[in-house]
């Protein structure tokens, strides 16, 4: 009888090991989407609509901003030197000036083994918004003088968010590969990339002797902020 109990115990443990192994092998990776096909279609359609709308809005905005810049130049041409100096100083502090100098160019790409077209919302093989956020934060911490992602200048309050498989920088959608330019000490800035190298995405870093980073496209609209001591 004692022998039988041991046998039964043995068999139960064997079955448990088998079941765990079977579940482990059969489990789907977390990365695969769990949405129904209908939801996926709606999502794709809405995303397309938003993307098209965004391209149109961006074109109009660029046109208006170009006209405004032209008018500003005329005004600046008629302003005093002191006023222009104050303006230049404030522009430099807010990222409205172009920055040029030594720096690094970091290119982040998805792991070639995966494709964004399969609409997997979560996948360590894709470059995530969190990767870009962490990188930008680390670059600022390493005293980057200016940072741009896919040519768009970033400031500390520029939100970098994921929307399905896209990434929004501010209000604009960008697609991989993500090229991050940072002006500053190239050796210090390279340290900011270390953490990303442990991920499953592709990371390449290039030292550039003369990087040019454009000014911020447009200033934020302020509705709540006022001077504490006007």
């Amino acid at each position: 009888m004692k022998l039988r109990l041991v046998d039964i115990f043995f068999i139960v443990i064997g079955l448990a090991v088998g079941a765990i192994l079977s579940l482990q092998v059969r489990s789907h990776p977390i990365a695969s989407g769990s949405f129904s096909l209908d939801q996926l279609e709606v999502k794709k359609t809405l995303l397309e609509t938003f993307s098209i709308e965004q391209v149109e809005l961006k074109k109009k905005l660029a046109l208006v901003e170009a006209k405004k810049a032209e008018a500003q130049k005329i005004i600046e041409g008629r302003s005093s030197r002191q006023t222009l100096e104050i303006l230049d100083h404030l522009k430099a502090l807010t990222g409205l000036n172009g920055v040029q100098g030594q720096g690094i160019r970091i290119t982040l790409s998805d792991n070639p083994a995966v494709s964004r077209l399969d609409f997997s919302a979560l996948n360590e093989n894709f470059v995530q918004a969190t990767d870009l956020r962490d990188l930008v934060n680390a670059l600022f911490a390493k005293e980057a003088k200016a940072i741009a992602v896919n040519g768009k200048r970033i400031e500390p309050l520029t939100p970098i968010q994921s929307v399905f498989d896209s990434i929004l920088i501010g209000n604009l959608q960008i697609a991989p590969p993500f090229v991050v330019d940072a002006v500053g000490s190239s050796s210090a800035l390279q340290e900011a990339v270390h953490a990303l190298r442990q991920k499953k995405i592709q990371v390449s870093v290039e030292v550039v002797s003369n990087l040019k980073i454009v000014p911020i496209e447009a200033l934020r609209i302020l509705q709540y902020l006022s001077l504490a001591n006007p």
Binding site: I13, I75, E76, K91, L93, T130, R220, L222
Partner: protein, 207 residues
């Protein structure tokens, strides 16, 4: 004796498998907790809001163009200078907003995630322990017992002050499954105080 050894080996294997499974789960959970969208609608809403903001921006720029065009004759840059002063951190600023207090240090990515969330909800100025985040001061780094922001070491509690639409800001971070929930989930001892304020003042940056 032989059976006991076999059972011990199998039990050991089972333990290793369970430990591996648990560690893999924890790794995936931490990744998912940070990256998981709350739901499809929330993600679509982000895109929709981004386009709404772009539309608002376009309208504001059109209005601004009209104003600038009308000022060509007056040669005035006052409005632009005032706007830039508000953004630059050169002057102390005030406005409605929220205040978040973290009782203990967290990993730096939580602060940059929180800042991104606040910025997308309309934050116009953010400061940590009264140091405003600007091009010169940005970049958090967690180190033992505190935070490095710019060249300054900040000790807990961390007080994050935000100027912007207080209700929207509060809602964006305090919703179920939102960033505050996730921070508390991963830091059981962390106490987060969140309050809406009619007036938040952020000092000028000492340069």
């Amino acid at each position: 004796m032989k059976k006991i050894t076999t059972i011990t080996i199998i039990a050991g294997l089972l333990g290793i498998l369970l430990a591996l499974q648990y560690r893999a789960y924890q790794k995936v959970e931490s990744f998912v907790l940070r990256s998981q969208p709350q739901n499809i609608l929330a993600e679509l809403r982000v895109f929709q809001l981004a386009n709404q903001e772009l539309r608002a921006h376009l309208q504001a720029e059109e209005k601004s163009l009209e104003e600038v065009s009308s000022k060509i004759n007056n040669a005035s840059l006052e409005d632009e200078i005032k706007h830039l002063k508000l953004l630059s951190g050169e002057e102390a600023v005030k406005g409605e907003g929220i205040e978040i207090t973290l009782s203990e240090p967290v990993e730096d990515f939580w602060i940059s995630d929180l800042t991104a969330q606040l910025a997308s909800a309309g934050a116009e100025a953010v400061a940590v322990n009264d140091i405003r985040l600007t091009m010169d001061t940005a970049g958090f780094r967690d180190i033992t017992g505190g935070f490095i922001l710019g060249h300054l070491f900040l000790r807990p509690p961390l007080r994050i002050t935000v100027i912007g639409p207080k209700q929207q800001l509060h809602q964006a971070i305090a919703q179920n499954g939102g960033i505050i929930d996730r921070m508390e989930h991963t830091h059981p001892n962390l106490q987060i105080l969140l309050s809406q304020r009619e007036k938040i003042t952020i000092p000028a940056i000492a340069r």
